[in-house]
């Protein structure tokens, strides 16, 4: 307060840090977690309640999320549905991998700079690979 403004070094603020893998997966853990909570659980409830509602309501779910047999607006929502479902799969794998990373960090391991960066990058590699394998399995078999 008594210091002359402008001359003293400022505490580094959020936007001037150089991005590293650990920072990236940290915020990805939050984004994927909240995405899974809001979008994923909403989709889960829609799906399970559509099954509980009987064949017609389940068909409505399929039509709007994936099949779009009636054209029109369903074409857009079915495209969105595919993007959301693939996105949720990736979000789950990413959140799972960074969650396991957190378990390791919780016991006090993996804080060395190189190891931390390496395992952070590997969570992204894993989530992309697992999502690809999952959907390849769904679509190709």
């Amino acid at each position: 307060m008594a210091q002359a403004p402008g001359k003293r070094p400022l505490s580094p603020h959020l936007e001037i840090w150089r991005w590293g893998p650990a920072m990236l997966v940290s915020i990805l853990h939050r984004i994927t977690g909240n995405g899974l909570a809001f979008v994923g659980l909403a989709m889960l409830l829609w799906w399970i309640s559509a099954i509980a509602g009987g064949p017609e309501s389940y068909q409505t779910f399929l039509d709007w999320v994936w099949l779009a047999p009636n054209g029109g607006l369903q074409v857009a929502t079915a495209l969105l549905g595919k993007v959301v479902l693939v996105g949720l799969t990736w979000a789950f794998f990413q959140h799972m991998a960074t969650g396991i990373r957190h378990f390791v960090l919780d016991v006090g391991a993996g804080y060395e700079l190189e190891a931390n960066a390496r395992w952070s990058s590997l969570t992204i590699l894993f989530s992309v690979a697992a999502t690809s394998v999952f959907w390849a399995f769904v679509l190709l078999r």
Binding site: R30, G33, N34, L36, A37, F38, L41, L44, L45, I48, S49, I51, A52, G53, G54, P55, Y58, Q59, L62, T89, F92, M96, G99, I100, F103, D106, F134, F137, V138
Partner: protein, 127 residues
């Protein structure tokens, strides 16, 4: 609450008065998800088709129905804990805090109840 002795301070559970309960619940439910969600995903993957008859028959079986109900409890609670942390970080005004408090105490439980009722209806007949 604490009475000034060391054990009393421990029982006072620190500055949050909730101790490590939130942290531990988050980890415990994470382990649950680590079993339940892959079970759901592998089951969906291995289904011969995803038409109504197949999906309904699968969800009505005891093991999948149990897993689905556990997901409604465990995953919704895990989500509630996570959303709470997010809201605590980003919501600072009193009004927003009250709205957030109402949200995390009603919506996850309502969602879980709706999900459980759906699974029970599938498993025990009805539609």
């Amino acid at each position: 609450m604490g009475n000034g002795t060391s054990i009393g301070r421990v029982r006072g559970l620190g500055s949050s008065h909730h101790g490590t309960g939130h942290f531990l619940s988050s980890r415990l439910t994470a382990v649950g998800n680590l079993v339940l969600i892959p079970f759901l995903m592998v089951s969906l993957l291995l289904m011969p088709s995803h038409d109504y008859a197949t999906v309904h028959a699968w969800a009505a079986k005891p093991l999948p129905a149990t897993a689905l109900i556990l997901i409604m409890i465990n995953t919704f609670y895990h989500a509630r804990l996570g959303i709470q942390v997010m809201l605590e970080d980003y919501v600072h005004e009193d009004g927003g805090k009250i709205a957030a408090w109402l949200f995390i105490n009603f919506v996850p439980f309502a969602g879980a109840a709706f999900g459980i009722v759906s699974v029970v209806r599938i498993a025990l007949g009805g539609a």
